[in-house]
Amino acid sequence: MLLAEVEYARPSSIDEALRLLSAHEGARALAGGQTLTNVMKARAAAPDVLVDLADLDELRRITRGADGNLIVGAMCTYSDLVSSAEVAAARPILAVVAAQIADVQVRNRGTLGGNLCLSDPTNHFPPLMAAIGATMTVVGGGGERVVAADEFFLGVYMTAVAPDELLTKVTIPPAAGTGDGFAAVTIGRDGTCIVNAAATVSDGQATVAVGCVAAVPVVVRAAAEEDAVVDAIRGTALEPPDDVHASAAYRRHLAEILAARAVRQALERSS
């Protein structure tokens, strides 16, 4: 497929990127492009200007904050997460999940920031971020703000990041004392998610986020027991989409099964 005409710029600083995004109506940030390019090939979307973030090295760092928080730059690729010693030490689930996304070539290009800002309901990271309590740092003309995962995802392809803003980094609390789990039913091994669920347990409490069942991850908090979590999910009265891969009823069922499995994993890892 072939893209419609588009203009391209590759700024060398975040400020320059922000200026370009606000100066051009219909400008979009280009990160790894592993989804945006395809959607543009289908001409299902046609941004007028692409602002390539490739040269913004400050967005490619993975560091630990003084408080022990893991700070991941938005332009870090899935492969970066898989191979990062900091990730392995601070929050290994990130690497576990990143290694399940698509395939080697896509993991070599696709970025955490792109995955989150895309907010495709089948993505792996939105529910994971919601479950582990990540916060997103968004910068724009108005300066910098921090958004909790719960408020970050607004809808399909819609997030708290305005067209003239950038997600710069994701801050993730260290695993200390908690356990994380992730379970998914995918089309073929490591394929597109039909339903996925991420869970974190700490001091008897579980936070579970289920993906692919609504426009944004569905988050529940309950006692860290499978039954309690299943009840909580049931309590949300999900109305999942019905598509070629799964009926609404099947997705509703998988949401409960996978939430329980994610919690089981999390409990095993926390002990």
Binding site: G188, A246, L254, I257
Partner: protein, 828 residues
């Protein structure tokens, strides 16, 4: 140039089948690989011409609609656009494509672009040509088409209802073809039966092999000679020419087909004549070469899908010991919006009417309907795959319902090797095979004896384990005479393929074949046969890559399809090489002063005297003498050309049209597959944990290549059994229009695959070999049977569909009784 053909019906003599041990049967390295591993193959989109225009088709977003207005002016005004083509121009300058069906089904009017009405999403409506790919795509967005949507016809079971809208007004209904097939004495079978198993409905879903290279062409028009050169990846040029020449109102020789490397075909590249005609018109209109490369989404929405088929009111009379007496069924085949190779699918299945089983009394009521979906066409295992899946599903359901072990059930009913050649109830002759031996091997490869232990082990892990068996008959070397059973007026019968083998002036051996390989290694296997006969090595044999109708080494049925190269292609190669060997010997005998050609032999590139091998004439000298020094030849040797063309014609006869009876194909390779699955009962997710495929294609010219075909065909059927399907929504939108939603098995999805083989040489073919490219269908049956077996522990649901994605398995787990309601067993 000398020429010989084998007359139809003339049996091939025994010594023609005796082949000296040598290169045949060995894994010689493929000639094709050297270029392909270096990215130096020439696929159709690699062909470039000066001033070439890129073509993009504007396609219908509606499944069924009247076209009320087309305005291309804005597109035409865009800088860089060379021109456009619309339906009215096509209707004015071409004739509708020839239809295989008799009236009224044959009244379908099919043109290169939609004329007045669109009948499926993705149907080409306008063609736009521009200086770059991107511009052609931009211009397509400027084309304005107004549609008046019509109610789409999507359900094949309701397509024939008078209340349903009609796709093709000239046909008068949506029925393309229908007929009754009645063999043996079905009523007597019912009377003899102890039990009658009835199955309300089975469904074989749409999918396609989706070759990785999509269709495409570069078409040039020579105004001086009014000839088109069509560089394409069409895999059956003979058929394309027959379809295109009358439509374009020109002679067949005006259409030169050229191809070198083709990125997979699997039948899906047979029916591209439709787009090729649009390209021919554009090349002539725009006075420049045109390039069209189909996009993946277009391939899924508008290329040939495998036929969807429903099997209704199935009735199986059976003895209480499991002996199958016959079956009766109503079959409805959905061929999509247009008939391009159809309704051939309505007869092709009959090549394997009883499958691999000793069913003698069969009654089939077969109807083909059109719907507002992508047109169907041959897809690896064409039409037999659907029918063989049906027979395997029936055997398995009957076994489960009667409580008979599926292995026992099969062995009791398999046609036995001592019955070969076996004549089926409809007059087809299975040439050779030992199905039971294949099954034993397949079971041994998956350690069938240990299966119960593995079942318990799986249970301990919370999984349901099941084992299943599937079979396939790969009937090859069609008798096109079967088309006359559908339409008595047709003048098609038999089959043929051509090879030309020459010894050139400097002694090169050059082979030219009429086929269009897409990975079947024809250059290699042809070289093996030639080397064997001429006493040289395959490296010394130069086989031309690809196809060119100007080589004049093709015939009406030339192409690569329907599992026949090992018979027709290599039969032609063998015939031509035998002729060349004889001519070389004549030259040798004359020059070496031998009495006759019996007194010389060929070895190492020399003609040698039997009584004195020292007296030897190199091939190079033979080539030089005949081509450049023939005054030295004795008169009797002057007719020799060392350029031998041979047309292989299989010994086919016309079938009996009234009784729908006769031998419809020459050879029957078979495969037996066994499969072990583990189902997660909580989610319906399952994994194939063990798999075996045993193949019998007679003499294996190159075992490694045969095994490669088994691997590949199996992967395709595993895909079809799991996630590969073409479902439509209620508006007729294809829901899996690309590889994002149409999930093809990748390396992690494929189970460990174990293969074995049995060799039952065909008594009917020049080399004892059989075509074997399409055997994979067994995998669909094996997976379905394994699921059925595993689910027996969960309420015994019936696996009623060929495609079983997780969601369907979960439904079977959740409501086993819904599917159980499809089956009843009555005492007769």
């Amino acid at each position: 140039m000398s020429e010989t053909t084998v007359a139809p019906g003339q049996p091939l003599t025994v010594e023609e089948q005796e082949v000296k041990p040598g290169f045949i049967g060995q894994n010689v390295p493929r000639k094709e690989d050297q270029r392909l591993v270096q990215g130096e193959g020439v696929f159709v989109d690699d062909v470039k011409r000066h001033g070439m225009a890129y073509v993009h088709f504007v396609r219908s977003p509606y499944a069924h609609a009247a076209i009320t207005r087309i305005d291309v002016s804005k597109a035409a005004e865009l800088e860089g656009v060379y021109g456009t083509l619309i339906g009215e121009e096509v209707a004015a300058t071409t004739d509708a494509f020839f239809q295989i069906a008799p009236p009224p089904g044959g009244h379908v009017k099919d043109f290169a672009l939609a004329v007045g009405r669109v009948r499926h999403v993705g149907e080409p409506v306008v063609a736009v040509a521009a200086v770059t790919r991107e511009l052609a795509r931009d211009a397509a967005d400027l084309v304005e088409v107004d549609y008046e949507p019509l109610e789409p016809v999507l359900d094949p079971e309701r397509a024939a209802d008078p209340a349903t809208p009609v796709l093709h007004d000239d046909v008068g209904s949506n029925v393309i073809w229908s007929g009754e097939f009645d063999y043996g004495d079905y009523e007597a079978a019912l009377a003899e039966a102890d039990k009658v198993v009835r199955i309300k409905r089975l469904h074989f879903d749409r999918f396609s092999s989706t070759p990785l290279e999509t269709s495409g062409a570069v078409v040039e028009y020579n105004r001086g000679t009014a000839q088109w050169t069509i560089h394409s990846n069409n895999q059956f040029p003979g058929f394309a020419q027959i379809m295109m020449a009358p439509a374009l109102r020109v002679g067949i020789d005006k259409l030169r087909f050229v191809s070198q490397d083709i990125g997979g075909g699997f039948g899906n590249k047979i029916c591209t004549h439709v787009q090729l005609v649009a390209l021919c018109l554009l090349a002539r209109k725009l006075k420049r070469p045109v390039n069209w490369t189909e996009w993946r989404t277009d391939q899924h929405t508008a290329n040939s899908h495998g036929n969807e088929r429903v099997f209704l009111d199935v009735e199986v009379p059976v003895k209480s010991d499991g002996t199958l007496l016959g079956f009766r069924a109503r079959m409805i085949d959905d061929c999509g919006a247009y008939t391009r190779y159809e309704p051939l699918g309505c007869i092709i299945w009959a090549q394997v009417t009883p499958g691999v089983y000793r069913w003698r009394n069969i009654r089939v009521d077969f109807t083909q309907v059109c719907t507002n979906k992508s047109p169907c066409g041959p897809n690896r295992g064409y039409s037999r795959m659907q029918h063989l899946w049906f027979t395997e599903r029936v055997i398995d359901i009957v076994a489960h319902e009667l409580g008979i072990d599926p292995v026992e059930m099969r062995k009791r009913n398999y046609i036995r090797s001592d019955e070969m050649p076996y004549e089926t109830p409809n007059g087809c002759v299975y040439d050779s095979g030992d199905y039971a031996a294949c099954l034993d091997q397949a079971l041994a490869l998956i350690d069938y004896d240990g299966i119960e232990e593995r079942r318990r082990d799986a249970e301990a892990r919370g999984k349901l384990l099941g084992v299943g068996i599937g079979s396939t008959l790969d009937s090859g070397t069609n008798n096109f005479g079967q088309s006359t059973i559908l339409n008595p007026e047709l003048q098609f019968s038999g089959n043929n393929e051509v090879a030309t083998v020459k010894l050139d002036i400097f002694g090169e051996i050059v082979v030219t074949i009429g086929t269009t390989p897409q990975g079947q290694s024809h250059e290699t296997t042809a070289a093996q046969v030639v080397a064997e006969i001429l006493g040289v090595t395959p490296d010394e044999v130069n086989v031309r890559a690809g196809h060119d109708s100007y080589w004049n080494s093709h015939a009406g049925f030339s192409g690569t399809y329907a599992s026949q190269f090992a018979v027709t292609g290599l039969g032609a190669v063998k015939g031509a090489t035998d002729m060349l060997a004889e001519e070389i010997k004549q030259i040798g005998a004359a020059v070496l002063g031998a009495e006759s050609t019996d007194d010389v032999y060929l070895e190492g590139g020399f003609v040698k005297r039997n009584d004195n091998p020292e007296a030897a004439l190199p091939f190079m000298a033979c080539g030089a003498i005949v081509n450049a020094n023939n005054a030295v030849l004795p008169m009797e040797a002057r007719g020799i050309t060392l350029n031998c063309r041979y047309v292989y014609v299989p010994p086919h006869q016309l079938p009996d049209k009234e009784r729908k009876y006769g031998n419809l194909t020459l050879t029957y390779a078979n495969q037996i597959h066994a499969c072990v699955v583990e189902i997660d009962p909580e989610t319906g997710v399952y994994e194939i944990v063990d798999y075996s495929a045993v193949d019998d294609c007679g003499v294996r010219i190159n075992p490694q290549i045969v095994e490669g075909q088994v691997h590949g065909a199996t992967a395709q059927s595993i895909g079809a059994a799991t996630h590969e399907t073409f479902p439509y929504d209620e508006d007729g939108n294809l829901l899996t229009p690309n590889f994002y939603d149409y999930h093809v098995p990748h390396a992690l999805d494929m189970p460990p695959m174990k293969t074995g083989y049995v060799e039952s040489p065909s008594p009917f073919t020049p080399l004892g070999a059989k075509g074997m490219g399409e055997g994979g269908g067994a995998g669909i049956s094996a997976v379905c049977a394994a699921l059925q077996n595993a689910l027996a522990a969960a309420g015994k649901p019936i696996v009623y569909d060929s495609s079983n994605p997780y969601k369907r398995v979960w439904e079977l787990l959740r409501n086993p009784d819904d599917s159980r309601a499809l089956v009843t067993v009555d005492d007769a």
